[in-house]
Amino acid sequence: MQLAMHLHHLLYVAAGGSVPGSTSTPYQLHIINLGALAYGLAAIGPGVGIGIIFGKFMESIARQPEAQGRLTGFLWIGFALTEALALIGIAVFYFLK
């Protein structure tokens, strides 16, 4: 019951309703920073993805060490493309400040 009330309050304020006695912009939750929450959620996917990329790189070198030179280029390209999504999240953090 308490949890449902809190959740309802959070969603109400997040939707732009203002709590009387508080100074907040319509875009920012004044209990938690919405931008920080957005970045935290955005970092989940790339975290898993980068782990997969580097894990597969290590596995394939363990199987065939001669392939290391050819694979290193793809490693960095894959890392940067996956990291981009997490960093778009941190850019959103600055928009919501």
């Binding site: 960095w76 890392f79 940067a80 990291e83 981009a84 960093l87 778009i88 941190i90 850019a91 600055y94």
Partner: protein, 274 residues
Amino acid sequence: MNLVVAAQVAGQCTPASSHILSGCPYPAPSINDFYFTPLFTIGHFQFDKPMLLVLLSTLIVLTFFWAAFRKPKLVPRGVQNVGELGILFVRDQILRPQLGKKGDSWLPFLCALFFFIWINNIFGVIPILYFPATSRFEYPAILTAMVWVLYMGIGMWKQGPLRYLKNLAVPSGAPLWILPLLAPIDFLSNVFIRPFTLSVRLWANMLAGHVLLLVFALATWYLLTASYELVFSAASFVVLIALTGLELLIQLLQAFIFTVLTAFYISGAYETSH
């Protein structure tokens, strides 16, 4: 607590003068750290620090390559060695895998792009300068606009406008029944999402890196006390050094990725590939 309020009210808490002992709060880096007062103004045109840095980086790249290849010798000496190292890196790691040997005429463009972005990124850790101009969105944006015009223009020129747009929307080898779902997504991805991610990837990397360095640099100064608590400031300094090393890697990597993707998009404009 009163000390904090009093100091804030007195308006004397600039980031340079904030100390934990003087009652000022920690000067957290914000978006205001990316806006500078103009160095000089001509009418409506304001010349500020990022513009100066971009001009400086252009000057450095031009001067370096001019000095390296002014009198090229068959057996390289001196600066020509380093210049050849740079150009061969761009040719063998960036250009040849994407465009092949017949794409060698793109070497000056890709070389200029790579070194321009890399030198601008490096300014984030050079003393006195300490600001990567690519962390202001307009600089990656204009580079991306240039690349977008290139790969759209070359595609329309080499393959004809309508056929190129069709090739953007329909990847070869896709079964016919999935096209109503795939074609809009693929078209939007190639025409709009690609420039967006290309510019934001470079911009956000440099923004986040600069903010990280700012956090620990400001903390080092803020925590500087004359007692045993100096260890906190020292720890912050050690992390600052480690992050500077990480930033050097990220700066090179982002310049590399931008150039690799540019070469890839241009190669996709020449032929329908895969």
